[in-house]
Amino acid sequence: MSGTERGAPVQAASADREIVISRVIDAPRELVFEAFTEVRHLSRWWGPEGFTTTTQSFEFRVGGDWDFVMHGPDGTDYTEWITWTEIAPPERIALLHGESPSDPNAFESVLTFEPDGAATRIEMRTVFPTKELRDEAVEKYHAIEGGQQTLNNLAAYLTEMVRKEAEG
């Protein structure tokens, strides 16, 4: 793959095992941060459209955890577990995300909240222990969403192409 004549994009060392998602929300940082701190807020927006959650326990503190079940729109349930590793209001939240406290494939996400004028920029940086685990998570979430998403022809084609030719 690599070669001196190929103008390969320069990427961070962890680039192939991380996923970064960012979003600007037109609201003050304290308010956006607050939406991450209580289950009554989280249960209103966690997951894509059509997903709901049922919480078993929730304790928002470093070392505390959130045990919940995520219900997909097709009726499938997913057991989820989150523990917070860092909470710095209203700037930063780091959490471990897995299926249970003993999940060996749990991965860490760091959420940062930065003022952007009167709005707030959220960045969620998820670093997986290995590239393989990242790819696995991508596939898992593909499966989670599979029931509700109808991909257009191009997307479906590209997806199939990647599965058949990039893997294995």
Binding site: R6, I21, P28, V138, M161
Partner: protein, 113 residues
């Protein structure tokens, strides 16, 4: 995922219909540029330009075979598209859509208090 410069952005590369046709063609196996131009019914310089863009974003690899240069598909380059069309990134983008709507409601409720 942060967008990269035009020449290293796979989304930009596949936005062009002829470049998508080239990917479909190369799926069947490696081809020289003359074949690609003929199959698509386009001039060879245009085919070369498309292949160069596809190569720069990592969707196509090339190798020398005698006097010819053969191009083949490297579908690993499509992973960002695969992720965007579904999976973790889409999951969170949709969750953040809902977060945005919820925070707007929250903001309005606080202002009315």
């Amino acid at each position: 995922m942060a967008r990269a410069a035009t020449t290293s952005d796979v989304f930009n590369a596949i936005a062009e219909p002829q470049r998508r046709e080239i990917l479909v063609l190369l799926r069947a196996g490696e081809r020289p540029v003359t074949d690609v131009a003929r199959e698509l019914g386009i001039a060879q310089p245009r085919a070369s330009k498309h292949l160069r863009v596809l190569r720069e974003v990592g969707l196509v690899r090339d190798r020398k075979a005698g006097k010819q240069r053969l191009y083949c598909l490297d579908a690993r380059g499509l992973r960002p598209v695969h992720e965007w069309t579904g999976g973790f990134e889409r999951f969170w983008n949709e969750a953040f859509d809902r977060l945005d709507a919820y925070v707007q409601d929250l903001k309005q409720a606080r202002q009315e208090e």
